[in-house]
């Protein structure tokens, strides 16, 4: 009941913010946006790329979504589910569905479809790929007691379950189609979303047209959209600059932003946000001398993060100094506290002196040489790699860089064939469970490329995951952060990515969030002319 009340509040807040903007949405127009990569298939349950979200998400709805006006991209907001309640033991979530929602083929969407879609995601039959199955390991079963009610039963109570339902990939598909062919949605599109599918020309574009029977009355505002596949960021920038495209939702570099602003002035609006992606240094605990925590601490101490935040933010898509949570989001550590961690001190000389001392203690000689493996992606891997190598040179380490082609990269790193390597993590929503999973012991998470086992850390993770009181949870997250980044220096963080979306000032009703996976349903977006 409490939840329902909160919802009304959100809805009110949403409409209020529209009023604050002082403009009533105008209907009409086609939104044109470049997408840097083309979707491999159309099945959101199977894929893991924004190349699918940007052109395909407008054709679908999810059970819940993030509030389209929330810059932190964390606030749950109703979509196909109007409201929900949680049982006192925190293990049963009951959702009330919106009535009168129709698929593009005219049939009504009911709880049967939601159940079938989530069953496909959580309990995929043999031969059906679901990337996010692991994320819902806590779900015992999904039930559809009546056409407008869906119930999720969890094995244990969880502080993150609602957040996990905000995934923009969890499109609701039609049960009848899935019953006939689980792979149908890989090659076809048919949802409940604000836009209906017109065409996809391979190597060129995807076109969507306004769904006139959309269940959320009055929306969408746009007549349609055109997603154009363009690999090169220079071409994307040129398209926005030439006013042939309105926006590119993933983000541009700081320099692109400045150029666009200089060329177009008021006709460009810039939205920025810390980005829920970060490059990390994976330190292989199986290779000497990196099994020594003093050496690992020296590596992180060597990085002058505050200096880099000023310098690199001019040339790369990074900015904030960050711990394990994106700065400015509910569970993030405030700066003054974060700056106490090793490598986050504000005096770089002091850090370097400490780093040199630690290396000496660990018996690592001056001029010690190792290879840093980096991934063959220009932005921001390359500038960050150049920066890190230079920073390590300053504490007397002689580092060579070996760049491995992007597709082969994680295959190589997974095998443990490296000393120190660039690692990457990126989430669709800022949420401790998702963001900290990376650091769990290697036997629990094969994507822990540091290859360590740390039961204490695992225990902290489980504790915070079950904690439903936000304040208590924050405290445990802090402990976790200190252990992984400072005490043990298992992993080292570079700078938080920074998402910069300079777009045509004609585009309204779209808010940047820390994730380029979020907020792409386009139902609230409109054009001024």
């Amino acid at each position: 009941m409490k939840r329902r009340a909160r919802f009304l509040l959100f809805a009110a807040a949403a409409s209020f913010s529209l009023l604050v903007q002082g403009q009533t949405p105008r209907s009409g127009g086609e939104l044109v946006f470049p997408v840097p990569s083309e979707p491999p298939s159309y099945d959101g349950h199977r894929e893991e790329t924004f190349g699918l979200i940007h052109p395909i998400a407008p054709f679908y709805n999810t059970l819940l979504r993030v509030d389209p006006n929330d810059k932190s991209g964390t606030r749950p907001y109703p979509s196909l589910a109007e409201s929900w309640t949680v049982s006192p033991d925190g293990r049963t979530y009951t959702f009330k569905l919106h009535r009168g929602v129709r698929f593009h083929d005219g049939s009504e969407m009911t709880s049967k479809d939601v159940k079938a879609s989530y069953d496909k995601i959580i309990f995929p039959p043999a031969g059906v790929g679901s990337t996010r199955k692991g994320q819902y390991a806590n779900v015992e079963k999904v039930e559809a007691p009546d056409p407008y009610t869906v119930v999720f039963h969890l094995k244990e109570k969880s502080g993150s379950f609602i957040a996990s339902l905000l995934s923009p990939y969890n499109f609701i598909y039609k049960a009848d189609i899935l019953a006939k062919d689980m792979h149908w949605y890989e090659k076809n599109i048919m949802g409940t979303g604000p836009f209906t599918f017109v065409e996809h020309v391979k190597g060129s574009h995807v076109v969507g047209r306004k769904n006139p029977n959309y269940w959320d009355k009055g929306k969408p505002y746009l007549d349609g959209f055109r997603a154009i596949f363009m690999r090169e960021s220079a071409a994307q920038v040129a398209a926005v600059r030439g006013e042939r495209a309105h926006i590119q939702f993933r983000g541009f570099t700081p320099k692109d932003r400045d150029n666009l602003k200089a060329a177009l002035g008021d006709r460009i609006t810039v939205q920025e946000s810390p980005w829920d992606c970060i490059l990390l240094g994976a330190i292989n605990h199986e290779k000497k001398p990196f099994d020594d925590r003093r050496v690992r601490r020296a590596l992180t101490l060597a990085l002058d993060r505050h200096g880099a935040s000023k310098a690199l933010s001019q040339i790369a898509i990074v900015k904030s100094v960050a711990g394990v949570q994106v700065p400015g989001t509910p569970f993030a550590t405030p700066p003054e506290e974060l700056n106490k961690l090793a490598g986050y001190w504000t005096d770089p000389e002091k850090s370097r002196a400490e780093a040199k001392k630690l290396l000496k203690e660990a018996g690592v000689p001056e001029g010690f040489s190792f290879t840093f493996k980096n991934r063959g992606i220009p932005m921001p891997y390359e500038p960050l790699g150049v920066w890190m190598i230079d920073q390590w040179r300053r504490i007397g380490l002689n580092v060579k860089q070996e760049v491995i082609e992007a597709a082969a990269y994680f295959g190589v790193i997974r095998k443990g064939d490296f000393e120190v390597a660039m690692d990457f993590q990126c989430g669709y929503i800022v949420e401790p469970d998702l963001d900290m999973y990376k650091f769990l012991s290697v036997d629990r998470n094969p994507a822990n490329y540091g290859r360590y086992k740390d039961p204490v850390l695992d225990q902290l993770y489980d504790q915070q995951s079950r904690e439903t009181d936000p304040e208590k949870r924050k405290a445990i997250v802090r402990q976790f952060e200190k252990r992984v980044l400072d005490d043990e220096a298992h992993y080292l963080m570079t700078l938080q990515w920074h998402r910069i979306v300079p777009h045509s000032s004609k585009v309204k009703g779209w808010t940047v969030t820390p994730s380029h996976y979020l907020n792409n349903t386009l139902d609230t977006v409109w054009l001024t002319e």
Binding site: G127, S130, K133, E186, K202, G203, S204, M230, R244, C426
Partner: protein, 314 residues
């Protein structure tokens, strides 16, 4: 003739084996590219194995090869491992673009190369010769990506011209289509003309010194006639070789140009296919370009034998 056509089969088979083996040696596969690349928090070995099985990647190498060959024999390229769509559908639009660009670029190259080469040869060691050579060598020396970047920058700043967002096929809108492709075609054509010009020039010089030209001249034939009838016919031979071979390269090798001018051609598709470890698509592309190349070659050989009677194929 038929024999030479049949001789393509072992070559194609060789190409098939080579690309097949190369792709399997290159580390990583399409499943890793799909599930490890996005920095996802949850990775499942089970899911990856499942996907591999679905794509037939768990089968022994020889079996994968014979399956592919059996398909090829029926002219069935199969499905792209990355998108699951038929490969013909993936290639269609890109092929039209690349072919047209290749034709335009090589036409431009030849229109530049042949007259310039002749001019330089008959005026050897004069300022005309020097100017032609500097012009053509400058084209050869400028990195195409650099030239492209500068070109776009200049056009953006001075004419507000931006590269096209999507490719319009010739049959849809000829005017728009040509307006899109003329710049990259010029950039590429100029560059490739250099090879032709220098080839044309040196071949002309050689031919001009051959005994039979001298004899012809001794017999008092009008010099221009000699030039046209004898010299040109023989000089054009190596030029034809080089240019036609370049043509096949133009089809699939314009990676950097396509990148700079934002063209979705076969070159970029190649790069994508390799970076996704899309074995089937890469293989199909290589086979396509190779077949194309062999046919061009075949026609060059016929032309050779026709132009130069000294060469006969047994």
């Amino acid at each position: 003739m038929l024999k030479r056509l049949l001789a393509m089969i072992p070559t194609l088979l060789g190409v098939a084996v080579l690309i097949f083996v190369l792709l399997r040696i290159v580390p990583g596969d399409v499943v890793e590219a799909r599930y490890l690349a996005q920095g996802s928090q949850f990775q499942s070995q089970e899911l990856m194995n499942q996907e591999r099985a679905k794509l037939g990647l768990d089968q022994p190498i020889w079996k994968q090869f014979t399956t592919w060959m059996a398909g090829l024999a029926r002219l069935d390229f199969g499905l792209s491992m990355w998108t699951g769509a038929p490969i013909t559908e993936e290639i269609k639009l890109r092929f039209a673009l690349s072919l047209q660009l290749a034709i335009m670029a090589s036409l431009i190259a030849q229109c530049l190369a042949i007259p310039l080469g002749i001019l330089a040869a008959i005026r050897q060691d004069t300022w005309v010769d020097y100017a032609v050579r500097v012009f053509s060598i400058a084209g050869l020396a400028t990195p195409s990506f650099w030239l492209g970047i500068l070109m776009i920058l200049v056009m953006l700043i001075s004419f507000k011209w931006v590269p096209p967002m999507v490719f319009t096929p010739l049959w849809v809108n000829p005017w728009e289509n040509l307006a899109q492709l003329i710049w990259p075609a010029l950039a590429v054509g100029y560059r490739y003309s250099a090879v032709g010009t220098r080839m044309m020039r040196s071949a002309m010089l050689e031919v001009l010194r051959e005994d039979y030209i001298r004899t012809a001249r001794a017999k008092g034939l009008w010099p221009k006639l000699i030039l046209a009838r004898h010299a040109l016919k023989n000089a054009i031979l190596p030029v034809l070789t080089v240019m036609s071979l370049e043509f096949a390269f133009l089809l699939g090798g314009l990676v950097v140009t396509e990148q700079v001018f934002n063209l979705n051609g076969l070159g970029m598709l190649f790069v994508d296919a390799i970076s996704h470890r899309d074995y089937t698509l890469t293989q199909a592309l290589v086979m396509l370009v190779a077949t194309f190349f062999l046919f061009v070659n075949f026609f060059v050989d016929i032309a050779y034998a026709w132009i130069d009677p000294r060469i006969r194929y047994r």
